[in-house]
């Protein structure tokens, strides 16, 4: 049970880190699209 809880917690932390990284990448891509192609 404890192993299961720890595994779930690790999954949550890992997912949280990925979410933050993905948002930074997504916003950076949108910013680059806007600044590179909008005269």
């Amino acid at each position: 049970m404890t192993d299961r809880t720890n595994a779930d917690r690790r999954l949550f932390r890992r997912t949280l880190a990925r979410v933050l990284a993905m948002q930074v990448v997504a916003l950076a891509v949108l910013w680059l699209l806007q600044t590179s192609f909008t005269p």
Binding site: D8, T15, Q34, T38, P39
Partner: protein
Amino acid sequence: MHWLNWVIVVAYLGWVTWDGVRRSHGTKELEGYFLANRSLPWWAVGLSVMATQLSAITMIGTTGQGATDGMRFIQFYFGLPIAMVILGVTLVPFLHGARVYTAYEYLERRFDAKTRSLTAFLFLLSRGMSCGAIISAPAIVFSAVFGWSMPLSVAIIGIPTVIYTMIGGVQAVTWVDVKQMFIIVGAVLAIVVVLLVKIPVGPADALAIAGAAGRLRAFDFSFSLENTYTFWSGIIGGTFLMLSYFGTDQSQVQRYLTARSVDEARSSLLMSAYWKIPLQALILMVGILVFVFYLFQRPPLLWNPAHESRVRAEAPAEFASLESRFVNEYTARQMAANNLASASDSAAVAVFRAHERQIGDIRTEALALANRVTGEPSRDVNYVMPRFVLDYLPVGLVGLFIAAVLAAAMSSIAAELNSLATSSVIDFYRRWVRAEATDAHFLTVGKIATGLWGLFACGVALYAASLGSLIEVVNRFGSFFYGSILGVFLLAMIPGTRGWGAFIGLIAGMATVATVAFGAPSVSFLWHNVVGAVTVVIVGLLLGRSRTPTSARA
């Protein structure tokens, strides 16, 4: 339409209905029917959360918005990842840990029965009507594009969904949602590939042209309470809206209550946070590429085919004159686009933009004419994508797109019917009518409630055209209490706050939002959620906190 496309649509409808119905095996208890015995993996719950939020309006309307308005709509979702992270560390552990069936059930444990019943009633009222609107939006488009009657369009979307939701319960809703998400994303990716092949200029030139037309402007840092699509509206107002939707709306709460543990429930929400902005950007990019495609392929003057044929028949001279001006302007704009692709200097950009403005003016005149002839608002933007799909997609992909629109509609409707039935049974029938009965009895009542809500939603959808203003009133009413309900849940997490304060706060929150909405109608609805939530928390705190924390007494 080619027979192969119909085969794909019919096969899809048969498959999802069968797949949903077979999930009923083993569902003999109330917890199994409504919460899948809290046994679902986080990735399936996460996909279900995403599928529930993504409706047919996204597939048809958002792509059309991308074509006509560009990327700026993406700002609406900037608050979503923030809201998901906040919910993951605050409300989700509360609700999942409380072992409740509905979010409102938790409010009775924390506050009192009247707060629970009022919030549940507001949910049933708004979601019941919005479920009808979710069916009617694609049904109206199908009617106009294929010439189907409204009852047939509503039946094609509504009947299979009601059948599998009623028989299979939340297991059916979740596992069908998972498959529907794959169909939706697969169809969107296939359309992107077709567009890239069909557009006569390279991807970089296509982006340069879209950028020159202002379609790639994703960020607007101006601060305006009246504009929904700005960075600040999205980050602040959007966060409150998403907190309300994912944290207090039973149609979403029920998704993650089915997860195996609190951490899996959190992870399922984070999965949606991870994908939402990229997926929404992809859907808007489809619309932007459709815009670029129609720079090199003459588009219709009116996108709505039913309106186009009526205006052509009833005001032929006026329409012909507009169409002739439109063709001339289109030819000039096409040349300007070609020049822009070969040499993107500021002069070429200025010429292209001037022709783009002219085309916009002619379209505005055509829409006013259509409105005069038909007596209906045109909502032309919703027909951009269906017209492109039917006119230019290869055989097979048309069927896949229609299946994807049906999937998007059905996934939202199924989750809403399931949650409406859950709240009806748990918050009203079991609470006020019959507290003690066997699981089999409540299961039967749950299935009947799902069927009745399905009938109600289909009825609303059928009469949506004549009920148009009523639906608008209900939606507006909905925006009055969405943020206020969030405020009640925020109050519930503050130790020592009392039921009376929450109830009065809820009413004060709704009254304040109504005052803002009527007193300053130009303020965007995104800010109503902020006003409602903050008012409830302030009033709830001002009305005093009990000496002993309620959570300790519970």
